[in-house]
């Protein structure tokens, strides 16, 4: 059984995939609607949607002849993926701050 551990982060590590996730967070959409808002082709959007779907972030539903994509309504994976991004970014900014901090704090005197 696989979990979404590091995978969750990987799924949203790609800028186009992040953009798709963000657009779907605003409103459920079809492949065509997504492609119109992004500088990539429909097949490329479909490919990214497949990855997001396999990762459990996105689900799809047929509506007549259209297929509508939306964030996974159980939300859990989406929340987790979101927090994954928060921590990835926070740890990076923390590392920069730790490395830039004064080398020899005068804490010893306190």
């Amino acid at each position: 059984m696989t979990t979404n551990g590091v995978e969750g982060l990987g799924l949203l590590g790609d800028p186009t995939r992040r953009a798709i996730f963000e657009l779907l967070a605003r409103r459920p959409s079809t492949v065509g609607e997504l492609a119109r808002q992004l500088p990539v082709t429909r097949p490329a959007v479909s490919q990214h949607l497949r990855v997001l779907k396999d990762g459990g972030l996105v689900v799809s539903q047929a509506q007549g002849t259209r297929r509508i994509y939306r964030l996974n309504p159980d939300g859990v994976t989406a929340l987790r993926a979101y927090l994954d991004r928060v921590w990835a970014e926070a740890l990076t900014t923390f590392a920069k701050a730790a490395q830039a901090a004064p080398v020899d704090p005068e804490q010893e005197d306190a």
């Binding site: 551990g5 963000e22 967070a25 605003r26 929340l79 991004r85 704090p105």
Partner: protein, 159 residues
């Protein structure tokens, strides 16, 4: 509805800094590095504060002086270990109920005099999400949009 168990989130980063400095920057200087777009208050965030003791508050301060809690310090063991609660739920709001508190454990390990590995685990995420509330939120336009707006903002700022 039974609660779903969510696997913990983990992260590791190695910094070129002695362990004491790494711990000090993470805690005393928390507000200096925390990405300012991740906050819950109405007002823009001025800083975020992690009180350096067991039972201490972890909260943000807005530019207007308002304060919003994020969680509490559960374990304070400088310079090796820190556990704080994260009580910000799927509606991106503080939930004061300890039963709904997720936990973040941060461990610091010296890799040498000037190198420290920091390991983070964010666990008990299922405590944050009341399954039904989350479902209602995401389908009925509850609090999720604001959380996701923050996400969108963060994603946009990434280069």
């Amino acid at each position: 509805m039974t609660s779903t168990t969510i696997p913990p989130l983990t992260g590791t980063i190695t910094v070129d800094a002695p362990i004491e400095r790494a711990f000090r920057v993470f805690t005393d200087a928390f507000g200096s590095w925390w990405p300012a777009e991740y906050h819950i208050g109405q007002a823009d965030m001025a800083t975020a504060i992690l009180e350096p003791r067991e039972g201490g508050r972890w909260y943000e301060q807005g530019v207007d002086g308002s304060e919003c809690d994020w969680g509490r310090v559960l374990a304070w063991e400088p310079p090796h270990r820190l556990i704080v609660t994260w009580q910000i739920n799927g509606q991106w709001q503080y939930d004061p109920d300890p039963a709904h508190a997720s936990e973040i454990e941060i461990r610091f390990a010296a890799d040498g005099p000037d190198r420290t590995t920091v390991t983070l685990e964010h666990r008990h995420l299922e405590r944050l999400v009341d399954g039904q509330a989350l479902r209602d939120g995401i389908t009925g336009g509850g609090g999720w949009p604001s959380l996701l707006e923050l996400f969108a903002k963060a994603a946009t700022n990434q280069t």
